[in-house]
């Protein structure tokens, strides 16, 4: 067992997984001892609802990062999707049709990113900062500066639906995670994604079509952002132009904490998931303590920096 653990940690990206599990246990234990209202069903349901959307979008982003790319436009894509969805519902479109169109809009936004990165070969950072600002501008155009509310209750009440006490958004997130873990470990794509992230040239020389993979990932990222935005819209019951603004950073925070290498290549989905849960519980606990969001942000940032520190390798 000890040897297994030692080998596991040595493998790239797993170090953070182990550290995070240890940290998570300590953190949860500390909160449940210190805070009387922490270990309650309603608090955990709340926590799950809040982290579900972030969890969904962190999945494709983690994979995008593994290919050595980045997507900073997620928040804006979510904004455009949610506002469009809200307007479609207000216009009386049936819910299934609105869902379908919204996912299409997400896919379209994703393929815009994909086009910039895979076809025009722009740097991912530059391209998605561009689309981030562009699509946020589009949000303002779509809302005209007013918030869109008055959504049908059949839609908004979905966020209050539970299966065995677990919010369905959280279940959906878990399902997407499960699929992603399966795909990354058991299929061709998993190996190819890591290969492209570690060494794009060598993977091209092995016949791997990196551009195709990147394009599809961005489209997928857009679709998942669309789905996540709908659940968020259900919770808030209204959409305004700042919808999901800054979500890209929150997502990055979660997956960087999970040990995904921003330079591409290493990292695994389990790490991304644990990073997400850790941040969610931390923020929730700090909320209970009564700490304001501004201070919370400071602490989460500090955690990222600490988690990135590597002890220098011993000489010899």
């Amino acid at each position: 067992m000890r040897k297994f653990l030692a080998d596991y940690i040595k493998k790239d990206g797993n170090r953070n997984v182990v550290l995070l599990i240890v940290y998570l246990v300590i953190q949860t234990a500390a909160f449940s001892i210190l805070l009387p209202n922490f270990m309650t069903v309603s608090n955990f349901q709340n926590l799950m609802r809040q982290s579900a959307e972030l969890g969904m979008v962190s999945i494709p982003l983690a994979i995008v990062l593994m290919t050595g790319n980045i997507d900073l436009s997620i928040g804006s894509v979510m904004g455009v999707c949610a506002i469009s969805m809200a307007r479609m519902l207000r216009a009386g479109l049936p819910i299934p049709a609105a869902v379908l169109f919204t996912v299409c809009i997400g896919a379209l936004a994703g393929s815009l990113n994909g086009f910039c990165v895979a076809k025009l070969h722009l740097d991912g950072l530059v391209a998605t900062i561009g689309t981030q600002v562009m699509l946020r501008g589009f949000c303002y155009i779509l809302t005209g500066g007013r918030s869109v509310s008055g959504l049908p209750s059949e839609f908004t009440r979905v966020s209050k639906m539970y299966v065995l006490g677990v919010p369905i958004s959280f279940l959906l997130m878990l399902a997407i995670f499960a699929v992603a873990i399966f795909v990354m470990q058991k299929t061709r794509i998993g190996i190819q994604v890591h290969a492209v992230g570690y060494n794009a040239r060598a993977s091209r020389f092995s016949g791997i079509e990196a551009d195709k993979i990147k394009f599809r990932l961005f489209v997928m990222s857009g679709c998942v952002a669309a789905i996540a935005s709908m659940f968020m819209l259900m919770r808030f019951a209204s959409a305004e132009s700042e919808f999901a603004n800054g979500y890209d950073t929150d997502t990055l925070v979660a997956i960087l904490l999970g040990g995904i290498n921003i330079a591409g290549g290493s990292g695994n989905m389990l790490g991304a998931f644990l990073g997400l849960i850790t941040v969610a519980i931390l923020k929730n606990g700090l909320n209970h303590i009564g700490m304001t969001a501004t201070y919370q942000q400071f602490i989460v940032g500090l955690l990222i920096v600490i988690s990135a520190v590597r002890l220098p390798k011993k000489r010899d």
Partner: protein, 502 residues
């Protein structure tokens, strides 16, 4: 016979419980060029790192001018007169030549810490002039050629009054025509009484420049050879531990149908090149750097753009500019730059081996891990890849074993044509001979093989037919029967448009 300047006795060293040096005796005398050879992993670098104080030895002693010494770090070794020039230079590209030479010297600062530039430039100029180098000492190092940078490294050692100069693969980064100039400088230092340790894989250079050669194998002394003509074979057999008569195995075989036919192909760096390779035939493609041999391979493989011409694989035309088309036709390509193009160092042997053939292991979209494991195990055995297991990172393998992983990756696709580009570059003698044997075996099994190489002995050793390229054109084609090295060299440097050699 003079006393050795530097001598080691019974040096031992272990890493993580694995003994890599098992009692090494080594010596070098004043004014002597001592070669140090051995396969990768034989212990050459470890020994040199112990001598210069980068590692500490577990056992044995180092004697410098007869006295036992221990250097806590390399700067102390340099202070007494032992300098090392690593394969990768240790220069600051944004600083001038003079600054690099005297970088960590205090002699050029007055007591206020102000640098005496005039004195520094003057001294740098004097040292370089003595080395016969015509360099402006104010030039930034990044503007220098590789050879000039090497001269700066040598000047650094000379300025530190080196009595022993260790050169680790000094020719590795140099263009072929500049090796002689480097030799000239090395001989000059020898005449001045400097003891030189010359580490190299290139036997031709060892033969030419060394007075004696120490051979290491598996962390042990194999012996010391006094160099003279013809002794190099002894050195090689000591290195690999067997006779080298079968170094280039070359079976007689009959060729089959044409596997690859290239007709008038042009593209970046390539002009109207045609070539045919039959099944079971090994064609050596020889050319100097920039001759277009790599461009040829990349265009055939669909990795770079083909502007004209046709490529046929067994009579079926291969779509242009698509590596997928070339791969699915049955062409495989082992590229020259192993670390950048051949392998993914951070991934393991298993993943690297199946990288180009993942679809073959899919069942309903899911990879069959057991099937993969068994197949990779087979490759590891067939190619004798020395590793701790399939899940070992390729980074941790020696150059030769990394190359075998690249080979395994392509053999896994069962290709009909294998293009090997500099397959033995950066590979030790033992692995080299294994690769040659592999080429022979694969040709016997009916593969067509195109081996691109800039090493004449290798081309003549393994090929059935040799094609020479120069400036993007074929300048010569010969059946490999008693052609001389000079013929190939002449064709490779000819400026002619080319058919006169047919």
């Amino acid at each position: 016979m003079s006393e050795p300047v530097l001598q080691t006795k019974g040096i031992e060293k272990s890493f993580f419980g694995v003994q890599v040096l098992k009692g090494i005796d080594f010596e070098v005398r004043r004014g002597e060029i001592m070669g140090l050879v051995g396969e990768n992993g034989a212990g050459k670098s470890t020994l040199m790192k112990i001598i210069t104080g980068l590692y500490t030895n577990d056992g044995g002693t180092i004697l410098f001018e007869g006295n036992p010494v221990v250097f806590p770090d390399p700067s102390k070794a340099r202070d007494v007169g032992i300098s090392i020039i690593h394969q990768e230079f240790n220069l600051f590209s944004q600083l001038s030549v003079a600054e690099n030479i005297f970088l960590d010297r205090k002699d050029y600062r007055n007591r206020y810490g102000i640098v005496d530039w005039k004195k520094m430039y003057g001294d740098a100029e004097r040292i370089l002039r003595e080395l016969g180098a015509d360099l402006d000492v104010r030039t930034l190092v990044r503007q220098l050629s590789v050879r000039e940078q090497q001269l700066v490294e040598i000047a650094k050692a000379v300025s530190a009054n080196a009595k022993v100069l260790i050169m680790d693969e000094p020719s590795a980064a140099l263009p072929d025509n500049e090796v002689q100039k480097m030799f000239h400088v090395v001989r000059m230092l020898k005449d001045r009484g400097v003891a030189i340790v010359y580490i190299s894989h290139r036997m031709k250079e060892i033969e030419e420049i060394c007075d004696r050669v120490s051979v290491l194998r598996d962390g042990r002394n194999e012996g010391v050879v006094e160099m003279s003509k013809g002794k190099v074979d002894d050195v090689i057999s000591m290195m690999i531990g067997r006779e080298i008569s079968d170094y280039y195995p070359h079976s007689r075989r009959s060729f089959g149908q044409v596997v690859l036919r290239v007709e008038g192909v042009s593209g970046q760096g390539l002009e109207e090149t045609s070539l045919e390779i039959k099944s079971g035939e090994v064609v050596g493609l020889y050319g100097l750097a920039g001759s277009g041999t790599t461009d040829f391979a990349e265009i055939v493989m669909g990795l770079s753009r083909r502007s004209a011409g046709k490529v046929f694989y067994k009579e079926a035309e291969v779509k242009r500019d698509s590596i997928k088309a070339a791969m699915s036709a049955g062409i495989a390509y082992v590229p020259p730059d192993r670390r950048k193009e051949g392998i993914i160092v951070m991934m393991d042997i298993t993943q690297n081996t199946v990288m180009a053939n993942l679809r073959a292991y899919e069942k309903a979209g899911v990879l069959q891990n057991k099937k993969i494991y068994e197949k990779v195990e087979e490759h590891v055995e067939n190619l004798q890849i020395k590793c701790a297991g399939q899940s070992q990172q390729v980074l941790r393998l020696s150059g030769g074993n990394q190359q075998k992983v690249v080979l395994a990756k392509w053999l896994d696709r069962n290709p009909g044509l294998l293009i090997l580009n500099e397959p033995t570059r950066g590979v030790d003698v033992g692995a080299k001979s294994e690769i040659y044997r592999m080429i022979d075996k694969l040709a016997n099994e009916g593969l067509g093989i195109l081996m691109i190489s800039s090493e004449v002995p290798e081309v003549l050793g393994v090929s059935d037919r040799v094609v020479v390229m120069c400036r993007g054109r074929v300048t010569g084609e010969y059946v490999n029967e008693g052609i001389g090295q000079d013929v190939l060299l002449k064709a490779a440097s000819s400026n002619a448009g080319g058919e006169e050699n047919e």
